[in-house]
Symmetry: C2
Subunit: 267 residues, 2 copies
Amino acid sequence: MLTLALIQTRPRFLDVAANWHSAAALIERTEADVFVLPELFLSGYTFSTADQAASAALTQDSHVFDAIRELSAARGIAVCGGYAESANNTLYNSAFLIADGRLLANYRKTHLFYRETQFFAPGDSGFLTVEYRGARFGIMICFDWIFPESARTLALMGAQVILHPSNLVLPYCQQAMYARSVENRVFIATVNRVGRETNSLGDDLTFTGRSQVVSPNGEYLLRLNETEETVRTVAVDPAVADDKQLNIFNTILADRRPQMYHPSMRR
Amino acid sequence: MLTLALIQTRPRFLDVAANWHSAAALIERTEADVFVLPELFLSGYTFSTADQAASAALTQDSHVFDAIRELSAARGIAVCGGYAESANNTLYNSAFLIADGRLLANYRKTHLFYRETQFFAPGDSGFLTVEYRGARFGIMICFDWIFPESARTLALMGAQVILHPSNLVLPYCQQAMYARSVENRVFIATVNRVGRETNSLGDDLTFTGRSQVVSPNGEYLLRLNETEETVRTVAVDPAVADDKQLNIFNTILADRRPQMYHPSMRR
């Protein structure tokens, strides 16, 4: 069994140090193996310009990552969360998975939402899975959810638990993750932020909270509320996701028939 | 606008003539453009042997299809429903779409569920879409729903309205169609049967009814109950499904990035 901690935060816009400080305080008071934070939890979300996004962007050398590595090593935990990444003069909407003092994965968001397309480059890392404490984790970020190809790709790569840092403003995702879990028989931890942000472009965004964990059978194992900055934990057995057998005749991934699908999803 | 009629039936096992008679009576008293019936509504579902399935199987020449063609021509309507198809000494779990006196489509179920794998061959027709009254329809059958590739394939082929004859016994589908509709921005008419059947193999199946239509925005436009043999109609504007634009920066199908997906769904 592994304990997942969902940290639902209300970031202070552009204040990376303060945002890490708040998140660290929640991590420090919580017993868990894997801590999941929202998309862009270190910077906030609602940028007005690419320069503003760049001003809150981090490189792998940034000081805050020293702190996250140190905390993860000291506690023997994994931490996954989103940040604006600067690399090769390009900005990405990324998520790190840092465990036991080192970076295990850095995923760059594949499907950019709304005005992110103006501030970030489409992710070039591809979907990736990593092993930690005997479990295989996959990462997707927020809007990746609406493309069934995202979770499907991670499931086909062996992910048992999908970590899903988010900044959701639409009402769709939390309800739709039910389908994502049953169609792939995986755990999905969607961690959303709360609060409201505006920018000089007229965007006025209220983030919908309701962070959640769904099981491979579509059970909602944990559901947070819409407004609270808080941390909640749930124990899961990742091996449950290895059982793709729906009944004695049907096995979820093996029963796919790619030759019958549209050429864009065949093989 | 097109009016869809969902005909939720309780088939008499193996009694093709009686089942068509009941369905025709419901069609006759209803004003609609497209009538959708459950999977295997002409035969019933819970076969004990392949021979028993074969005993209720139909060819394209079967008499009941004359009656369906005649009714569709006389009324100027389309009728879609499921049947056990016999062709080339093979049985398929199929669905016809007959309109204005002729067969527009014959789809053979791609993903067989449970014991169907013992009685039917996996469908070889592939997913297909057809035009009727200026709207593009796609067909999938029951368990096809759990594979997101099914509805995705139909949406990529241009389907505006997915007709989904079903014999659902699990509680998953009706809730998950919410995701299928929003991820593809299509209408989906899931038409399920009601009642209970047993067979000599120990299967005891209760069909869950709750036939429904979901809109491209995930609204449930129509929901039937769990037990009633009945017909209900809803008017839809298929052109709404052509608007794949979620916001000024995102367009649902165009934003896919197949090169980032698993090789089995790439291109």
